[in-house]
């Protein structure tokens, strides 16, 4: 018996507005819409709808809307419709539930319980329109020994650094999980903005080597597409130990998504599953991690910073302390609300901790141990706005990774169906007819728009606090106050309650 699962959404068409142009039918890769010649009308099969809003956005007469279906099971606060349907799906198939994008569960969002300070009277705000307001920063190891040459001049012993025009980078999204056009949009925007995008673990397409100085390449457990030119082409190399959406497990790109081009980039045969093991099987300790860090440094002659990306988990501070001692230049921490192209639902929704708490713990621990300057910190895992960025920096981050926000800029409507490979917005798909819907010119421009706006907002908020350099905001937790937080939460975040003075 295959249990019928009622559709979650209902496609509502206003027949008075619909002029049967059939755009919706052409745009929907899930084949929701169809034309009934006998009736001379458009029909919709809501059961197939993933609620990506492509048809709604492109309907020239605005005749469409998607609503939550009012077909309901008997109300039950414990056994919600979602929970019941998941049981049915697994009883039907025997499969592990697979989801995409970030955790949709109502976990606390600490960003929304943190408020930012502003100057009044005694320490005047700064107007970013009139005064220089520095959001440029460098990522890398700060600590260095002062050494002099024979003539007594200071030698340059500073470790390699990444220069960013604003404290934001595009987080790792592999070619395979997202499309060629999405990658090109990210790469071009990173170049124009003076920031970086990240290849993820899928290798680097040969067309994108020209964006190398704005590219961070990833080395993950599957080591897909990792070879000398790949490492050399990049501005920095990221070792992926974990990902916020799926801590503790690897990746699995199904063979169907390994098209000719993806196969070429990952350097694996077409149509064969690409499996990234959960651990790097050559890394079972900090010492082993140090070995991978240094083998990469040796292979690239110590010219590039090495990042280590981990998921935010319970002992994240101790782990970060180990990474800071492994020789890594930058630590990226990915919180449990971070996105993914595919992850088992149970892992995505139940494993890991929020980035706000992880970041605060890590920064505090590294400071206490006197090794904060050994590394830069990048925070990711649902940084949704410029104010999240400002709060993250005040909690101790040097910069933030954004993934979901960047995809939204490209058109994503967070239907969380990336794992099905039918992205109507041309982002999380490899189907040529869908990929071409995303124009890289438009995509890059939208990303530039978004981050230019964010950068203005960051400057305004900094100015309001009387801070004119992003580096003076880093770890400046006195600029933050909490509301609706428990004593434990305040202690972990290292901030005072709103209304508490110094």
């Amino acid at each position: 018996m295959e249990m019928y699962i009622p559709s979650e959404y209902e496609v509502i068409r206003d027949d008075k507005k619909c002029n049967v142009c059939r755009v919706c039918e052409r745009q929907c890769a899930n084949a929701v819409h169809s034309y009934d010649a006998k009736l001379g009308k458009m029909l919709a099969d809501s059961a197939k709808c993933v609620n990506c809003h492509r048809c709604v956005c492109l309907c020239p007469t605005h005749a469409l809307k998607i609503v939550k279906s009012d077909d309901i099971y008997k109300a039950d606060a414990n056994w919600t419709a979602q929970t019941i349907n998941e049981v049915y799906k697994q009883a039907n198939s025997g499969g592990v539930l697979l989801s995409s994008m970030g955790n949709p569960q109502p976990l606390p969002v600490f960003w929304d319980k943190i408020l930012v300070n502003a100057s009044q009277v005694t320490n005047p705000p700064i107007d970013p329109l009139r005064e220089p307001m520095e959001t440029q920063l460098y990522l890398g190891k700060r600590r260095t020994k002062a050494e002099r040459d024979v003539n007594g001049r200071l030698k340059d012993t500073l470790a390699p650094q990444l220069r960013l025009n604003m404290p934001i980078l595009f987080s790792a999204m592999s070619y395979g999980s997202i499309s060629y056009n999405a990658h090109e949009s990210l790469a071009r925007a990173a170049e124009e903005l003076g920031i970086y995008y990240n290849t993820g673990e899928g290798g680097l397409h040969k067309d994108f080597y020209k964006y190398g100085k704005n590219t961070i390449v990833q080395v993950a457990s599957g080591r897909f597409g990792v070879f000398k030119e790949y490492l050399e082409s990049a501005a920095a190399i990221e070792i992926k130990m974990g990902q916020g959406a799926k801590p503790g497990i690897g990746g699995h790109l199904p063979g169907a998504k390994i098209t000719e081009d993806v196969s070429l980039t990952r350097m694996i045969p077409r149509g064969v599953d690409a499996i990234s093991p959960a651990p790097h099987h050559d890394i079972y300790s900090i010492e082993d991690l140090r070995q991978l860090v240094y083998s990469l440094k040796e292979a690239t002659e110590y010219k590039k910073p090495i990042l280590v990306k981990i998921a935010a988990v319970h002992n994240v501070a101790a782990i970060a302390s180990g990474i800071a001692r492994s020789g890594a230049d930058i630590i990226a921490i990915d919180g449990c609300r971070g996105g993914t192209g595919a992850a088992p639902t149970r892992i995505r929704d139940n494993v890991g901790i929020p980035i706000e708490l992880a970041l605060a713990e890590v920064d505090q621990r590294l400071r206490e141990e006197g090794i904060r300057d050994e590394v830069s910190l990048i925070a990711g895992g649902s940084v949704r706005s410029s104010s999240d960025v400002v709060k993250a920096i005040a909690l101790g981050a040097d910069a933030c990774y954004i993934g979901t926000a960047a995809l939204l800029a490209l058109g994503c409507h967070l239907c969380r169906s990336c794992h099905q490979g039918n992205c109507n917005w041309g982002i999380a798909t490899q189907k040529p007819e869908l990929v071409k819907r995303l124009d890289p010119d438009v995509g890059a421009q939208r990303l530039v728009n978004l981050l230019t706006a964010w950068n203005h907002e960051i400057q305004e908020m900094m100015g309001g606090m009387g801070i004119n350099s992003i580096e003076a905001l880093r770890g400046n937790r006195l600029m933050l106050r909490g509301v609706g937080l428990t004593d434990t939460e305040l202690k972990i975040l290292g901030i005072k309650y709103a209304g508490e003075s110094l």
């Binding site: 198939s93 699995h252 045969p269 499996i275 050559d282 070995q291 040796e298 292979a299 088992p344």
Partner: protein, 239 residues
């Protein structure tokens, strides 16, 4: 060029190798220096002594000959070239190799050849003269692994051989494969080593280490390949 590596720091040693324009390099008195020849190509390096971990990581070409044992992670993420080890190798040898060849005269440790993969003209190979530890060829996606059991053919591989294997092939020289194989792996017994890549690898191994080809050609082997029923396909249900 000859480099006396005794008491030399690994960074200094590797910098000297990188900066030297000479193709042939002899390293004497090697004592655990790591990352030798990482990412290099086109060199012919002979090492006396014992190199440290990650020898020839990301190696793109050329040849490394070690007159002794090697430690862990030899040829990690190697893309091309040849590493010849006259002794035994440690754990994680040939991890995620994409190309090139590793020939080991003696035994290899745990986790050898994990996630080896092949693509177009690149197909990596590891030949282990003795026995291999557990987890040999886990997640193997391509390439060839040969274990010859030259001294003893009983239990020439450890536990969890080929877990998650989804490409490539393994040849294990023994009469009775005692190892318990996972469901993803198919094993067939061969009366002798067939013509093809495995045979030419064994031939090369015999030439390198002065062993008798007949002994290794005419022996029974188990050939391990992924089970064509892909066990992953049915694993997920869209949510």
């Amino acid at each position: 060029m000859r480099i006396d590596a005794a008491e030399m720091d690994f960074q200094k040693l590797n910098e000297r190798i990188r900066q030297s324009r000479v193709q042939e390099i002899k390293i004497a008195g090697c004592i655990g220096q790591r990352y030798i020849a990482a990412g290099l190509s086109g060199r012919d390096i002979t090492i006396q002594g014992t190199p440290g971990n990650a020898l020839g990581a990301y190696l793109s070409g050329g040849r490394i000959l070690v007159d002794g044992n090697v430690q862990e992670a030899t040829g990690d993420t190697m893309n091309g070239g040849e590493i010849i080890v006259k002794g035994s190798a440690g754990d994680a040898t040939g991890y995620a190799m994409r190309g090139g060849e590793i020939f080991i005269y003696g035994d290899a440790g745990y986790r050898c050849g994990i996630h080896m993969k092949a693509y177009k003209e690149n197909s990596p190979s590891i030949v282990i003269g003795g026995r291999a530890g557990s987890f040999l060829g886990e997640y193997q996606a391509g390439g060839t692994i040969v274990v010859l059991g030259k001294d003893s053919q009983s239990t020439i591989v450890g536990n969890f051989c080929g877990t998650g294997m989804h490409g490539g092939e393994m040849y294990l020289r023994c009469d009775d494969l005692k190892a318990k194989l996972p469901a993803q792996v198919k094993a067939e017994k061969l009366a002798s080593l067939p013509q093809g890549k495995a045979r030419s690898l064994v031939e090369r191994w015999c030439e390198l280490f002065g062993e008798n080809k007949d002994k290794y050609f005419h022996a029974s082997y188990y050939r391990l390949t992924p089970n064509s029923e892909n066990p992953y396909k049915q694993m997920y249900t869209a949510n």
